[in-house]
Symmetry: C2
Subunit: 83 residues, 2 copies
């Protein structure tokens, strides 16, 4: 799966592991590269949905969009507030 | 990132690669395993959001929920209709 190869170099530090976090990865593999790319809009909507369930501060969200060949990968990392 | 280790054994066949597809992975790392798990509800809402952008047939969606330690990982695989 293309999704995994892109991020396989990442490691989680033990300090970071102690935090409560939510990570959302969306991979869209297209047959036609010139077709519509709805990932940026989808990202906005998904973040709105996540906020129904947990209090998310906008400055605790990091978003990355990568394109590789016919695949677009959107990564949202959210650090959740401690209770 | 726990997300990647869980699925690293998967390989995409070249036949499958020709399809247009959307994959959504949600990883929730919790400090307290007994806290609320909102992933099943979040999954339903995200699928509803995805349907705003693409025609998704329910029988073209596969959903898997894994729990490993303090992390829950939800995987949605959607095969999109060919245009």
């Amino acid at each position: 799966m293309a999704l995994f190869g892109l991020f396989s170099g990442k490691k989680k530090t033990s300090a970071a592991a102690a935090k409560e976090r939510l990570q959302i990865l969306i991979s869209h593999e297209r047959q036609n590269r010139n077709g519509p790319d709805f990932l940026p809009d989808l990202q906005r909507d998904i973040l709105a949905v996540v906020k129904k369930y947990v209090a998310v501060r906008d400055d605790h969200v990091s978003i990355r969009l990568d394109r590789a060949g016919d695949a677009s990968v959107l990564e949202l990392n959210v650090t959740l507030p401690e209770n």
